[in-house]
Symmetry: C2
Subunit: 202 residues, 2 copies
DNA sequence: TGACGGTAACTTACCCTGGGGTCACTTTAC
DNA sequence: GTAAAGTGACCCCAGGGTAAGTTACCGTCA
């Protein structure tokens, strides 16, 4: 009989349930930060209880790491591909933005996991997040260097600052985007293109 | 006698101690976020214990509000003054940055309190922070409107996006600055000026 | 000027809730 | 019948918050 009993299996394979939990975890961690997110809330979103979450991911850190790796791998991969294509320095920012928007159109909170400052300062999470950030910063640094060099500027500290500001720009664009679910990746890219053209002539 | 006993008054007037605690609180809240910050740690920084903190500020929210108001009032005041002076749209960003850097040269974490996403979603803190953000956003919106208008662009949604990106830029500049305590407000302003000139010709 | 009382500045030791984490158990699919 | 999917009920501790007590400063009065 299919009476809705609370206890017992619901017939969903582990792999699928895990994917659901990673999606829910990404949203919750992205929204509230590692410190502010609650495991029971993440389980509740999926219609499941905490022990199952722990059975599958071991710990809060385990779940966070799963979310982080999914987001980080997709992101670094997308950016690496775009950067490898090359092009004029002034066109790279828009191309990278387009790649990010496309990659995370249905997963907008993912970006925030890499930049969450509420994770414990030491441990696996901090190390993994720092590693992803390091890789992305390297791309940002490369892009900033190409851009500055093309204008005859070369102060390395300025370039560092620009690279960091760039990640902040991506950050705020994504925050803005999160609040406007109707705007898809294509529209978002077009908007950025229009703005860069208008403000900088890029 | 002045033997160092643990218990009993240390002779510091309430006003002075409160100021110390607000400074320590601002740093700790700014660093770890509302959710991640610990009251006992804030008290410990000042060489005092938790109950005193509670006697003076009532609750974690009370302390946070005190820190937030100090930061928010100084910030909105400084920006309002700068914006009131007026000038070419392209020069305003640098002028505002200069005001912010000068105001917070010895208090670099303060800015983050206004943008902390780990505060409870409802209640006094959320309301106060939202109010400060609203006021700052209004200035950003005004500046963005002037800038876009001077270039013949007027899409209001684009302008909103630019305003939000602007706050993100300030955010990341301050984060970068926090990691470089040797760079003072003047040097920071000069750096931003150089970069804007180089990248955008502003 | 010294004793003294009142109050402000502090602490120790405690309570209590929320949330991470676990154990033993139940049910359904195959 | 067995293994996988899933739960209720529990432990434990960090951290917010409090009660009650201790000490030093300071004004006042003889």
């Amino acid at each position: 009989m299919t009476e809705s009993r609370a206890v017992g299996t619901k017939g969903m394979p582990r792999e699928e349930r895990e994917a659901q939990l990673v999606v829910a975890g990404t949203e919750e961690f992205g929204r509230a930060g590692y410190a502010g997110a609650s495991m029971v809330e993440i389980a509740r979103r999926v219609g499941v209880t905490k022990p199952l979450l722990y059975q599958y991911f071991g710990s809060k850190d385990g779940l966070y790491l799963a979310c982080l790796h999914r987001a980080g791998d997709r992101l670094t991969e997308g950016v690496a591909t775009t950067m490898a294509e090359g092009g004029e320095p002034e066109r790279m920012p828009l191309k990278v933005l387009s790649a990010i928007f496309t990659t995370f159109d249905y997963d907008r909170y993912a970006w925030r996991l890499l930049r969450d400052e509420t994770v414990p300062a030491t441990g696996d999470i901090a190390a993994a997040a720092a590693d992803y950030r390091r890789r992305l910063d390297a791309f940002a640094l490369l892009g900033a260097t190409q851009l500055m060099t093309s204008r005859g500027l070369a102060d390395p500290v300025d370039i560092e600052a620009i690279a960091q500001v760039w990640t902040g720009v991506v950050d705020s664009l994504i925050s803005w985007w999160i609040d406007r679910p109707d705007e898809d990746a294509v529209a978002m890219t077009a908007r950025c293109s229009r703005i860069m053209e208008g403000l900088f002539g890029w």
